[in-house]
C-alpha cells in the first residue's frame, strides 16, 4: 500500500501541470463571468449609484446607507426587505409542505413491497414532467387559465358555482395559492424520485428483520426509514429552500412583475429585478444581492457538509 502510494506521488510530479491546464478554462470563465461580477456587486452595495432619466447619479460612497434603506419603512408604509422575505418564505412554505408530504407518501408507496404498485415508470414519468416545463410559460398558462375570461371562470360560471367571474389575480389568497400550486406541481415529482432513491438505498434486511419482529408499518417508518433517510431528506429539503429563495419566474410572469395585490406576492428576486430595470439602481440591487448571498451561504453550509463528507 505504502509503496503504491509513493510510486503514485512520483508519477504525479511529471503530470501535475496537466491538472492545472485542464482546470484553467473553468476558472478563467468563473473569474470573469461570476467572481468579478460578484465582487462588483458587493462593492456597488456601498454606493449610491442609479439612473434618473438620462442622468446617472453617483457612484457616491454611502457606507451602509443602502442597507439602512432596505430596513427602513418606505413610502407605502412597510419595510421592503422584511415584507419581501416574508412573502418569499410564505410562498415557499405553501408549496413545499404539500410537496414534501406528497413526495414522502409517493416514495413510500413506490418502494412498498406489500403494495407492489404497477406502472411505476409511467407515474414517475408523468409527475416529473412539470419540472422540465418552462416556468415562465407555465405561469403564463396559469394566467390565461385563471384570468377573468379564462376557462376556469367559464367552468365556474357555466356550473353556477358563482354568479360572476372570480378575479383570481386580484386576491392575496388566490394569487399565493396559484403560485404555490405551480411550485408544488413543478417540484413534487422531483422530490419523490430523490426520496425514493434514498429509501431504496437503505439495507433491505433491516426492513425484513423489523417485519419479523412484528413492527407495524408506522413503527418501521419512524424507527428505520426516517432516521436512515434523514441525511438525504435534509439535503433535498435545504436545496428546496435555496430554490425557494430564488423563486422568480412563476410570480414574476403571473403578476407581471408587480406582485399583486399590494406587493403580497413580490419575492426577493422580483424585488432585485425591479432595481435592474430602467432605473439601473446598482447600489440598492447590490445590497439586496448581498443579503441573498448571506442567506444562501448559511443554508449552503449544510448542503456542503453533506456532499463533501465521504
Amino acid at each position: 500500500m505504502d509503496k503504491k502510494l509513493k510510486s503514485a506521488e512520483k508519477r504525479s510530479i511529471s503530470y501535475a501541470k496537466w491538472g492545472y491546464i485542464f482546470i484553467i478554462p473553468f476558472f478563467v470563465v468563473y473569474a470573469i463571468f461570476t467572481l468579478y461580477p460578484q465582487i462588483l456587486t458587493i462593492y456597488n452595495s456601498f454606493f449610491e449609484y442609479y439612473r434618473d432619466g438620462l442622468n446617472i447619479i453617483g457612484p457616491n460612497f454611502v457606507g451602509f446607507g443602502n442597507y439602512a434603506k432596505l430596513f427602513s419603512t418606505n413610502m407605502s408604509g412597510f419595510i421592503p426587505i422584511i415584507k419581501y422575505t416574508g412573502n418569499t418564505i410564505i410562498l415557499w412554505i405553501m408549496g413545499a409542505v404539500p410537496q414534501f408530504v406528497v413526495a414522502m407518501l409517493l416514495a413510500l408507496f413506490f418502494t412498498s413491497t406489500r403494495l407492489n404498485i404497477k406502472g411505476q415508470q409511467f407515474f414517475k414519468t408523468v409527475i416529473y414532467m412539470p419540472n422540465l416545463i418552462m416556468a415562465s410559460a407555465f405561469s403564463m398558462l396559469f394566467f390565461a387559465m385563471f384570468s377573468k375570461v379564462g376557462p376556469v371562470n367559464q367552468i365556474i360560471l357555466a356550473s353556477g358555482w358563482a354568479d360572476q367571474a372570480i378575479d383570481f389575480l386580484a386576491m392575496k389568497v388566490t394569487v399565493r395559492s396559484l403560485i404555490a400550486l405551480m411550485n408544488f406541481l413543478m417540484w413534487f415529482g422531483n422530490t419523490t424520485i430523490l426520496l425514493m432513491a434514498g429509501i431504496q438505498g437503505i439495507d433491505e434486511s433491516l426492513f425484513e428483520s423489523a417485519r419479523l419482529d412484528g413492527s407495524s408499518s408506522t413503527q418501521v417508518f419512524l424507527h428505520i426509514t426516517m432516521p436512515l433517510l434523514m441525511p438525504i431528506f435534509i439535503y433535498v429539503f435545504i436545496t428546496s429552500m435555496i430554490g425557494g429563495i430564488q423563486m422568480f419566474d412563476v410570480p414574476q410572469v403571473l403578476t407581471n412583475g408587480i406582485g399583486t395585490p399590494n406587493n403580497t406576492s413580490m419575492t426577493l428576486i422580483m424585488y432585485l429585478n425591479t432595481f435592474l430595470g430602467i432605473s439601473k439602481n446598482y447600489g440598492m440591487a447590490g445590497a439586496v444581492s448581498v443579503l441573498l448571498f448571506i442567506l444562501t451561504a448559511i443554508l449552503s453550509t449544510f448542503v456542503f457538509k453533506t456532499i463533501s463528507k465521504k
Binding site: L40, T41, I117, A158, L194, K280
Partner: protein, 287 residues
C-alpha cells in the same frame, strides 16, 4: 381463525391499493390537465374560446400556428432560433468543460487539488442571481447586451455539472486505463478526448439534456440582457405576452405560442424520459 386474519389482511391490502392508485391517478390528472387544456385551446379560434370551455379539440390548429408564426410583435421563429443556439451551444460547452475539469481534479495529483475540488463544491449552491448586478453592469458598460454569447460562454463554469461528472468518473474510470494509454505514448489531451470522453458518454448525455432544458427555460438573465427583438429568447417573448394588453389578443394564437415554447422540451422528454429520470437521482448525494 387464521383464515379470518388472512382475509382481513387481504381486504386491508385491497383497500390501501385502491386508495394509493386513487391518489396516483388524481396526481396524474393534476399534472396533465393544464397542459391538455393548453393543447385543446391552441386548436380553437378566438371566437370559440370566448364562447366557452370544452375538452374537445377545435379545428383551428393550423390557422393558429400560422398566425403565431407570423406575429411580428413576438417573432417566435427568431426566438426559437435564438433559444436553440444558446441552449445547444451551452449544453455542449458545459458538459465538455465540466468533464474536463472533473478529469483534471480526479486523475492528476497537484498541490491544490483538494482545495480546488472543495472550492467548486462550495460555490455550487450560490445562485447566479447573486452576481447578476455586477454582470449586468459590466454588460452595459462594455456594450455587451443583446449578445447571445454572453449567455453561452458562462456555462463553461458549471459547478453542479462538475460535481456530477466527478462522481461519475470516480465510479467508472479505472486509473490503470489512463496509465496504459500513457505507456502507449498518447498525450494527455488525446487520452481525455479519445479514451475518457467515450467512457463518460452516458454522463455527458444526461448533462447535455439537463443543460439544454435549463437553458431553453432560462428567463431571469436573458430578460435583463436582451431587449432587441432580433436577439430575444423564447421565455423573454412569452413574458412580453403577459405585459401586453391581454384582452386585445387572439387567444388561440396566445395558447399556440405557449405550445411552441413548451413543446420542444416535451418532445425531448417523451423520447428520453427514462434516462432523464435516472439522471435526476444520480446527480445528487449518494445514499
Amino acid at each position: 381463525m387464521k383464515k379470518d386474519i388472512n382475509k382481513t389482511a387481504a381486504i386491508k391490502l385491497f383497500i390501501s391499493r385502491v386508495v394509493v392508485y386513487g391518489i396516483l391517478i388524481f396526481l396524474t390528472f393534476l399534472c396533465l390537465f393544464f397542459f391538455y387544456l393548453m393543447f385543446i385551446n391552441a386548436s380553437r379560434s378566438n371566437a370559440q374560446l370566448q364562447a366557452g370551455f370544452t375538452l374537445i379539440p377545435g379545428g383551428n390548429t393550423l390557422k393558429n400556428l400560422i398566425n403565431a408564426w407570423h406575429d411580428t410583435n413576438i417573432s417566435i421563429p427568431i426566438g426559437m432560433k435564438n433559444s436553440f443556439i444558446v441552449a445547444a451551444l451551452s449544453s455542449i460547452l458545459t458538459s465538455y468543460f465540466s468533464a474536463l475539469t472533473a478529469y483534471g481534479t480526479y486523475v492528476y495529483d497537484f498541490k491544490y487539488k483538494k482545495a480546488v475540488h472543495l472550492f467548486i463544491l462550495a460555490i455550487m449552491m450560490i445562485p447566479s442571481q447573486v452576481s447578476a448586478v455586477g454582470f449586468i453592469q459590466l454588460a452595459f458598460k462594455y456594450h455587451l447586451t443583446n449578445k447571445l454569447w454572453m449567455l453561452i460562454i458562462p456555462s463553461i463554469a458549471a459547478p453542479a455539472t462538475y460535481f456530477y461528472m466527478r462522481q461519475y468518473l470516480e465510479a467508472t474510470l479505472p486509473l490503470e486505463m489512463v496509465e496504459a494509454a500513457r505507456i502507449d505514448g498518447s498525450n494527455e489531451f488525446r487520452i481525455f478526448n479519445e479514451i475518457v470522453l467515450p467512457i463518460m458518454k452516458p454522463a455527458i448525455a444526461v448533462q447535455m439534456i439537463f443543460s439544454f432544458v435549463g437553458s431553453w427555460n432560462n428567463y431571469f438573465m436573458p430578460s435583463l440582457l436582451l431587449n432587441d427583438l432580433q436577439k430575444k429568447t423564447v421565455p423573454v417573448m412569452i413574458a412580453t405576452l403577459r405585459s401586453a394588453d391581454f384582452t386585445k389578443f387572439d387567444m388561440g394564437k396566445v395558447y399556440m405560442l405557449m405550445v411552441m415554447a413548451i413543446l420542444p422540451v416535451m418532445i425531448i422528454y417523451v423520447i428520453l424520459s427514462k434516462s432523464i429520470i435516472k439522471g435526476v437521482t444520480s446527480g445528487s448525494v449518494k445514499g
